[in-house]
Symmetry: C2
Subunit: 274 residues, 2 copies
């Protein structure tokens, strides 16, 4: 069993990126829109800030009150997106329930949409016109390639179909010649699908959803789930029972997460270079 | 075994549509862009023309030489799309190999894109903002609903992932809470997936790709494949061996095809109404 070391890969990507950004001679800035307060979210944002600054990218937080209306936020978004110094804009999800999330996401123009979440950026992505990938999908690809894992001729099962993990990964897989399945948290007998999976990519957000008895010997396990359990970040995979059967597996934390942040900044660079 | 009668459903949809269009008092016109000559394509277009005219929708063909360049076609597309009388515009696919197909498709504005194939229309669809569905996916949903087949809590396997069938159907399924798999023409042992399918939706374009030994008893089979064999339109399913095991099955022709054309006109109406 080999651990897919996301922290190491993240460092490698950031280092390469730092050189490229230095050579570019243009100041990059990521605007992060945050609505409300939440300790887990704050930790994610701190990580982005730290990573960004380590490679010379400014990360500017735009905090808003959790009671803000959709119209007010959309107006403010427009200003943030049109601010020339912001070369990329992201919104920390989820937004409070009174907000029309997709309407807010759509205020980000494709050339600043490093998360690939606006309708226009998604449309470019699914029609093969996008220069960048949704960060989680990009991170998973980077991890598989770093460890020389063939994912093009394998059966892939995606667990969960949320906007940040399952959907973008499924969209990515849909556009290459691979066999894949999507299993949900409400799928009856998910093991019927999982036991045929050469590669499992999970982002359902349920601790210990996938256990050792559900997977086949030699499986590659990518755990992009994020839940909180007793103040700690945990994934979807019961590591102790799954790891002994896996050929490769990501730890949580230290797997997909840090690579996703690195790819976010890589996307920022790719779009700014244009 | 019950035949899913697409011809009958198509007639029903068109009849309802005719009433609505008459009540609308606005003249609708579908522009069909055709590059080159091909007897199978000509048959499809004739069917669209006939269906459209039966409900008072003009169908105007714009024929182009098969040697046309991408730039020239894009220029002409712009004129066709901006012609006010054209309330919807479609391009007969596939286009000749010298043409950048997505670039041409992207000339269609979302409010006239009845086929949902431009990047912007696709982006609206995958982000849940679209009022219409890609016609084949809409036709499959209409057939399932017409026959009272529950598709929301079933395992669905999609065979093939082309732009006209597999991709839009997978995108549609991705956005509802269902379990689904995508199998390709190059998947090894597709029966491993197919035998768990409650519903099979196929659009791979290979005659007799799916045979009776690959499916389970009681399966629902939707055959949206279109190939030509000895001058006849044939699907992906070996009807003779699959039908005895199926609870519901589409014939080819007379299954998904005619419903798809009806949904195309329904999309035209929905967009024009706005």
């Amino acid at each position: 069993m080999i651990l897919l070391d996301g922290k190491k890969l993240s460092g490698k990507i950031l280092l390469e990126l730092k050189e490229e950004i230095t050579g570019m001679g243009k100041k990059l800035r990521l605007a992060v829109v945050v609505v409300g307060e939440n300790p887990v979210v704050r930790k994610f944002i701190e990580q982005k800030k730290k990573f960004g600054e380590s490679i010379g990218i400014d990360v500017r937080i735009y905090p808003f009150d959790e009671k803000i209306t959709t119209n007010e936020l959309r107006k403010r978004m427009s200003e943030i997106v049109h601010e020339e110094k912001n070369t990329g804009v992201i919104i920390q999800l989820p937004l409070p329930s009174q907000i029309n999330t997709q309407y807010i996401l759509n205020s980000i123009t494709p050339e600043k949409d490093v998360d690939v979440l606006s309708s226009r950026a998604l449309g470019n992505f699914v029609s093969g016109k996008s220069q960048i990938m949704p960060p989680v999908a990009g991170a998973i690809r980077a991890l598989l390639e770093e460890y020389g894992i063939d994912y093009k001729n394998k059966n892939i099962v995606i667990v969960g179909a949320g906007n940040l993990v399952g959907k973008p990964v499924a969209l990515w897989r849909l556009y290459e010649k691979v066999t894949f399945g999507v299993v949900r948290s409400n799928t009856q007998n998910p093991q019927e699908f999982l036991k045929y999976a050469d590669i499992i990519i999970s982002g359902v957000g349920r601790p210990k959803f996938i256990t050792g008895d559900m997977v086949k010997e030699g499986v590659v396990v990518i755990d992009a789930g994020t839940s909180e359990s007793e103040g700690k970040l945990v994934g979807d995979v019961d590591f102790d029972s799954v790891a002994p059967k896996a050929s490769f597996i990501t730890p949580v934390p230290g797997g997909v997460g840090p690579v996703t942040v690195a790819i976010l900044f890589k996307n920022l660079f790719t779009l700014a270079k244009k």
